[in-house]
């Protein structure tokens, strides 16, 4: 709720300021203009009066009067004064008899013309000098526009400003509520998800804005967390199973051997079986240790520049020794012409281990059907593709194939304990590469390895 309030207050303050500046500038400039305009009109009246009195004969004066009456709008409370002033000392007396502000007369006397305001009456005066002395020509009027229109404008601006601020408060509250409500909902929902109900997901939102992206991000995160949970559970059950099987065999063998007295040959046989199972146990624990080491030793391996095509050829030779019946076909058709694009930075032994692991899997689970190994390179990665025609992996089990000790449900007939692929993935990962697996059940598996090309 605090962000709603923050945004509302911020918007209200800024918009009120803008409105205030707009309103006051409209008012200020308009009233300024109206004063200037009104004095100009008074000035016109003064000059007409002056002309009528001093510069024309009877007939012209009549004409001027007619024109003035017909064409010039009479101002409200307009009064015209032609005051004879014989000397400076008479000014005060003139002012008193005509009830004209003395300051105006003084100003006119010194500046020859002047404007003046007293209460709501506006004056414009001019000094006319004649040989006999001088005259004051003064016109006074009330500024109707100023007293009525400007007051109305002020009211409109105040009331309008107030109403629009109310509307803005309402709208900003409405909008911010609209924006923050979904976020509130998401927060409540995410808070309600705990380890017990990790399968729950946020509801899908129809529109395509950031909220939708936030929901999808949360859902993806939850997916990953759920998989991690699952992995943990799987690991424990798989590991105890892998360790348990040889242990049960050892215990059973020892039990049977101790049941009664045996001949030395029988003891020897029993001990050999126990030794075999123990070796298997040892192998499992060693490979597990290795898997863990790769995880935390990341920076301690020696890196050098390796040509991937050579690496694959050597891996093939190793495979020929390990599985003499293998049917690996190397396809260098898409090899780049430039050998620089085949070089990667990496630890040769580790990469070799990763590749031979993948190749062993491919041969093993396809019962030595053809395995095609292709190598190519884009502008920044080498792409290694290993395709087999084996039993494939059920689609529902694809997310777990990189879990240690996990074995797909259709692999019971094949020997193994589920360490090879996670190990390969860790190795590729510490080389900043990517290992992707695609599979069609009963048709085969495609492994795609991408490694960044070394910058020479």
């Amino acid at each position: 709720m605090s962000s709603i309030r923050k945004i509302t207050i911020l918007l209200i303050i800024s918009i009120s300021l803008i409105l205030f500046f707009l309103g006051s500038s409209v008012y200020y400039f308009l009233s300024n203009y109206s004063y200037a305009d009104f004095y100009k009109r008074l000035e016109v009246s003064v000059s007409v009066a002056e002309k009528r009195h001093f510069e024309s004969n009877q007939k012209d004066a009549q004409v001027l009067k007619n024109i003035r009456e017909e064409h010039l709008e009479l101002l409200s409370d307009e009064k015209e004064y032609i005051l004879y002033c014989p000397s400076e000392t008479a000014i005060k007396q003139i002012a008193e008899t005509n009830s004209i502000p003395i300051n105006l007369l003084n100003l006119v006397y010194t500046q020859k013309f002047a404007n003046f305001q007293k209460d709501d009456i506006f004056y414009y005066g001019k000094k006319r000098e004649t040989p006999k002395g001088f005259y004051f020509v003064i016109v006074s009027a009330k500024n109707y526009y100023n007293s009525h229109h400007l007051i109305l404008l002020r009211k409109v601006l105040l009331v309008g400003g107030f109403i629009s601020i109310l509307i803005i408060i309402y709208l900003t509250y409405l909008f911010s509520k609209r924006f923050f409500d979904p976020i509130d909902k998401i927060i409540t929902k995410v808070n309600s998800i705990s380890t017990d109900n990790i399968h729950l997901r946020l509801d899908d939102i129809k529109n395509t804005d950031e909220i939708k992206r936030l929901t999808t991000t949360f859902n993806n995160l939850l997916n990953r967390i759920e998989i991690a949970f699952e992995t943990n559970k799987n690991f424990i059950s798989n590991a105890s199973h892998e360790f348990g099987t040889p242990l049960t065999a050892i215990i059973g063998e020892a039990d049977v051997a101790l049941l009664k007295d045996r001949t030395p040959v029988e003891y020897k046989e029993a001990l050999q079986k126990i030794l075999k199972q123990s070796e298997r146990l040892n192998k499992i624990s060693q490979s597990l240790l290795f898997l863990a080491q790769i995880g935390y030793k990341e920076n301690k391996f020696n890196y050098s520049i390796i040509r991937t095509d050579e690496l694959i050829l050597q891996a093939n030779e190793i495979m020929n020794q390990l599985i003499p019946k293998n049917n690996i076909k190397i396809d260098f058709e898409l090899l780049p012409e430039n050998p620089k694009k085949l070089k990667v930075m990496g630890n040769k032994d580790l990469l070799m281990l990763a590749i031979t692991n993948i190749l062993t899997n491919a041969c093993k689970y396809s019962s030595n059907k053809p395995v095609i190994v292709s190598l190519a390179s884009t502008n920044n990665e080498i792409v290694l593709i290993i395709k087999d025609q084996g039993i494939g992996i059920p689609e529902s089990e694809l997310p777990f194939i990189f879990d240690p000790f996990f074995r797909a449900s259709n692999t019971a007939a094949y020997d193994g304990y589920g360490i090879g692929l996670p190990l390969s993935q860790n190795i590729i990962k510490i080389h900043k590469g990517e290992l992707m697996i695609n599979s069609v059940l009963h048709k085969g598996v495609t492994v795609q390895v991408k490694l960044p090309i070394a910058i020479l």
Partner: protein
Amino acid sequence: MEKKILIPIDFRVESLNTLKYALDDLKQEKSNIILMYSEYISDSITELLFYDPAKKIRELASSDFNDAIAIINNTHESSLHTIKIELFNGLNKNAFLNFYEAHAIDLIYLPKDYCLKPHKNGFDPTPLIKKSKVEYKEVAWASDLPTTNKDELTQLFK
């Protein structure tokens, strides 16, 4: 003399196999490639106003597709001069012949068994090209290996 080759595509990695086999067929002959994607142009005047072929191509080309082009480019670096993607918006034979002449195409390669699967608003120009009585060659590749329906880089490796 560099040859100008036209290959219809559908922005899926698999359609680039035509290019791969065409380059094998050309054997080191220097060539410029035009990858042609055909689509109906919009009737809407506002859409036409903001029509940008380069942007359209960027939208259509997935990262796997770009990787696949890079792979082929690297494989034939010495003989392959340029690869360009062009959009073809024509509807009939004459429009195609115009395109053919404007780009001074020497030879067209078409996929024999693979049927182009264009995206929304796109169409398969193969019948149009065959009808136009210009020189074309067909290339075939086996697609018996397991593939998923997804469009991915592995489809180039056949």
